[in-house]
């Protein structure tokens, strides 16, 4: 090596390159090392990347090489040649990695030149060494990123987990970050490097940093499905990559893979479901295989909700707001032309139990909303102006009226307890009284959303009379007198629709449009309004 004489390159550089080519470990801080060894070619300087403020997971700084002298392209080419010769002489897998890291950091030539340089260099690396080098890079990056800072709750192999990391990582690691060299290594030798197994070995944070620009995976549909079936812990990652493609296409993800995503409901399926049905415009901008998502979800969900005798698995573990709103969104898409679908028994019972449990939690948690210990804005469903919210509410009302007696008793008790708690909160200052009003409106929504019942539903009407009776007796007076202070009630003609009062608007509309059967079913509510009102309510 000492005999090599290259223009623009000093002897120290030659010695340094020779030594790092034979290193036993990858040095991710190679730029600091070369600067410390004073082995940079003349005129080359190390600069620290601008760096985004949010780099929670990195343990080091990102740097690049600049050069302000003339003929940068020639200087770069001379350096590439030197690196090539060093690799030709003798190199280890880690050593080859170090040289690639150096070349990747050169910032004074065009991207094309840089990539060409790298492609030239890897021609000197044997396949087996390349494979080993890729693995060594993966191990190094796994150590380089501070997982605790970047990911928080580790070892949680779910879509949500990858989503959180992707959200925190976005814009944090730029395209020039050395972790992207790994992506380049995958794409340059797909067959031997870009394997699904290698991707599985990468820790979540570097994995999501690469995923932002797409995994250049070497696989096909059949192999991919087989891989997912044998490696179910990888489904969440690929489900996330499928939804958050950032314009990258994964042609090997087809119907069968999507079914695997959906069937992995708790970790993957439900999060894709949220994406689609909580944001109705999501699919409008999507094409290709994603257009099949609604029908695939229908195939999976429809029997669980509507086929008699089928157990509803997805309702067994649900989050009140997130799940119900998405299910409401899905029901919106089903509704057209098939109005007489009937919820199966399992769905009714599970929904009613969930509602009952939620009413109980709301009553217990009320003091926590005052101390801001819990967020009252995520306690109930979304804005009542949204169709999906109205469908979700419909599900709750149906479950409340049609559940079995045992669940009903429990629900009735919790409804009553919540009314007593709301009553007390009406006596408090501004904030508790505001929360009481909101919660009372939530309950009223449940009572008034009954357009479908008829005289045949005697049993259900009894239940409604009972609940509206509790409501009217316990909180009827404060509810009527405080609610009628809203212009939506006293100045209905002049009052415009407003998202802030969407729930009240919904209640008034339902009370206005209710037919004789509905009015009979919630007669105590109408009576309370008639007796306590000091202004005429627009409900007659």
């Amino acid at each position: 090596m000492t005999s090599i004489k290259v223009k623009y390159i000093s002897r120290k550089t030659i010695l340094f390159i020779g030594s790092i080519a034979q290193a036993e470990a990858i040095d991710l801080n190679i730029l600091e090392s070369i600067e410390k060894a004073k082995a940079l070619p003349r005129g080359w300087i190390i600069k620290i990347s601008m760096g985004h403020k949010r780099r929670p997971a990195m343990t080091g700084r990102t740097m690049y090489i600049a050069c302000k002298l003339r003929n940068p392209q020639k200087r770069y080419q001379a350096f590439v040649d030197l690196c090539g010769q060093s690799l030709k002489t003798r190199h280890t897998a880690a050593g080859a990695g170090n040289i690639l890291l150096l070349l990747y950091a050169v910032g004074f030539v065009s991207d094309d030149s840089r990539i060409k340089g790298l492609e030239h260099i890897i021609t000197f690396i044997k396949g087996s060494t390349y494979q080993l080098m890729t693995r060594t890079f993966i191990e190094s990056f796994n150590r380089y990123f501070d997982n605790e800072k970047g990911a928080g709750e580790l070892n949680e192999n779910s879509f949500n987990f990858f989503d959180k990391i992707a959200f925190r990582q976005q814009y944090a690691e730029d395209y020039d970050h050395p972790v992207q060299l790994l992506r380049l290594l995958f794409s340059m030798k797909r067959k031997i490097a870009a394997t699904l197994e290698n991707i599985a070995l990468i820790n979540p944070i570097p994995k999501m940093a690469i995923a932002e620009f797409g995994f250049p995976v070497n696989t096909n549909q059949k192999k991919f499905n087989a891989y997912l079936e044998n490696n179910r812990d990888q489904i969440a990652l690929w489900g996330h990559c499928f939804i958050d493609t950032h314009g990258k296409q994964y042609p090997f993800i087809k119907k069968k893979s999507i079914e695997l995503f959906i069937h992995d409901w708790a970790n993957t399926g439900k999060y894709i479901f949220y994406r689609i049905y909580r944001n109705p415009s999501f699919l409008k901008n999507e094409g290709g295989i994603k257009k099949q998502l609604p029908s695939l979800f229908n195939n999976f969900l429809f029997p669980q909700f509507f086929e008699a005798g089928v157990e509803n698995e997805i309702l067994k573990n649900v989050q009140f707001k997130a799940d119900l709103s998405s299910i409401g969104g899905w029901m919106c898409t089903l509704k057209r032309g098939k109005a007489d679908w009937v919820l199966n028994e399992s769905s009714v019972e599970l929904l009613a139990s969930m509602l009952s449990g939620h009413l109980e939690t709301m009553a217990v948690d009320m003091p926590d909303y005052i101390s801001d210990h819990k967020d009252r804005y995520i306690t109930w469903l979304d804005n009542m102006h949204y169709n999906e919210t109205q469908y979700a509410l419909q599900l709750l009302t149906i479950s409340m009226l049609f559940c079995n007696n045992k669940t009903w008793k429990c629900l009735e008790k919790n409804f009553k307890s919540l009314c007593f708690q709301i009553k007390l909160f009406y006596y408090g200052g501004f904030m508790p009284s505001h929360i009481a009003t909101n919660f009372a409106n939530h309950l009223t929504c449940l009572l008034v959303n009954i357009s479908g019942i008829s005289d045949e539903n005697a049993h259900e009407i009894d239940r409604l009379i009972s609940l509206s009776g509790y409501f009217a007796n316990i909180i009827g007076y404060p509810w009527v007198t405080i609610t009628e202070r809203q212009p939506m009630v006293w100045d209905a003609i002049n009052c415009k629709s407003n998202d802030a009062f969407a729930e009240l608007e919904f209640i008034i509309k339902k009370l206005q449009l209710a037919g004789p059967v509905q009015r009979r079913a919630i007669a105590p509510l109408y009576e309370a309004i008639a007796v306590y009102q000091t202004v005429p309510w627009p409900v007659h």
């Binding site: 403020k53 009320m366 003091p367 926590d368 005052i370 101390s371 210990h373 007390l424 909160f425 009406y426 006596y427 408090g428 200052g429 501004f430 904030m431 508790p432 007076y477 404060p478 007198t481 405080i482 009628e484 202070r485 212009p487 006293w490 100045d491 002049n494 007796v531 306590y532 000091t534 202004v535 005429p536």
Partner: protein, 508 residues
Amino acid sequence: MQANASLLSFLTVLEGETEHVFFLYLKELMELAPPKGIHWYDQKGAKNTAGFLWEEKRVKQWLLIGQDNDMKNIFHELIDRQSYIAKKDNCPDARFSMHPLLPVLTEKDVMQVEGIPVYSRSRQPVLYRRTAFDPSVTFLLDERTNCQFISGYKKHEYIRPVTPAGLFEDDVLYNYLKEKISAAFVPRDIFCDFSRKKDSVSGGKKLRGIVQMDQLFRSAHTIEIRDNNGIATIGTTTIDTIKGTWEIPLPDDDAGIGQLLIKEDTTETVKYAQRYVILNNLNIQTSVASGFVDLFGREMMVSEKETELPVISSELWSIEAAPDANQAAIELSDKMHRVLRTLGKHVCISDPYFLSPLIEKDKKIKLASKSQQVFLNALLIMIVQSGVRTLVIQGFHNNTGKHDGIKVEELSKQYKLLWQLIQQTHKNSPGFKLEKLELVKTGKKFHDRHWLSNDPANEIVYEISNSVNGSFENGQWSVKKLDDIHAVKVRSLIQTAYSQGLKTNLML
């Protein structure tokens, strides 16, 4: 149906067998009274017993609801006789005592100030005051956080909030106790709401509103709109007895500011009055806020706007007042921070032991004690919230046993860690404007601890009871603002020591 229920709440401290009432609160509700007479809430006096809100301090709440008059009678019995005995069948009596109270005369009462230009809301709370502070609740006097735990606006695992949480508005308990107010009656108010509308017929402006009262009241009262000074009448109208609504046309040049009165027709008595401003153009001042996590793990927001707090004449902290040690530390740190914030942008900490030894571990500060954590936290917050430009730390010896003083080199090395900590915490903060961080080792020994402002326009000097390392562990800490003469003397001593001392720039 007219609301006729009132809620009465006693906050008591158990003293022997008697419940000493330290805060009595009567509120008229928008509610109908229970048909069976007075109702004592479960665990709040239902069987003449009540559970503790804060067991360690023996604090309880008693809560009852009933007809307005019944509740008023109990309220006044306690105030007039200073005692009340709750009797119930098959239950031992509950005995309540209270110190003598005097009613607070409020000048804002509209009933007494008719004709005076600016009216306030019609019905202010009626307050009753003690002649001296209540010594049985020192843990609540000037202790905002503890009052928030009791009121329900903050949560603590050992303290239950009153029922319902938020019964008193935020800071009401804190402010009242600080003003020696031990009883409050909040009367039911007339509800009146209105907004400015465009008249669809004439095209002009009008005020349209509602009065939420019964028909009898509406038929016997008139609405009057006056100008901002309360002198000229803009318009009067009757109230629609059925709908409760009213409308008054406004002049074209209406500025959106004025007074609304509800007057009784026969006697011209003003029953309700409100000064109003209708917002036309909103000018919202925006300032960028960024955050950092303090040494107690709290997310702190820092605004670009620098703010100073009003000068404090004295402040006292005792570990006894807080429900647990961690909360006590947070309280002390916040109190220190409030004092430091009054010092402006040029601050000097003069303490013979500096900030106590700073220990290095893995190139980071390892906090020597809880006291150090408490102080450094206050200092860190102050640096960005006040936009501090210069900070001087002046001392003589480091309490490591070297009572003849410590070598400047050793000291500088230690205190560079402080600069490192400040940088780490605030490097991205818009409020971080520190230009000078100086360590001064004085030539002579001194004893007293002082925090002072180095700003020529701000001559505050505070005397501090403990050195940094002893404040929390000693369980007590106090600060006193020196009067003018002493402030001049102390400042002169400190400045002499500064000019003769060995100075190190910690930012290098």
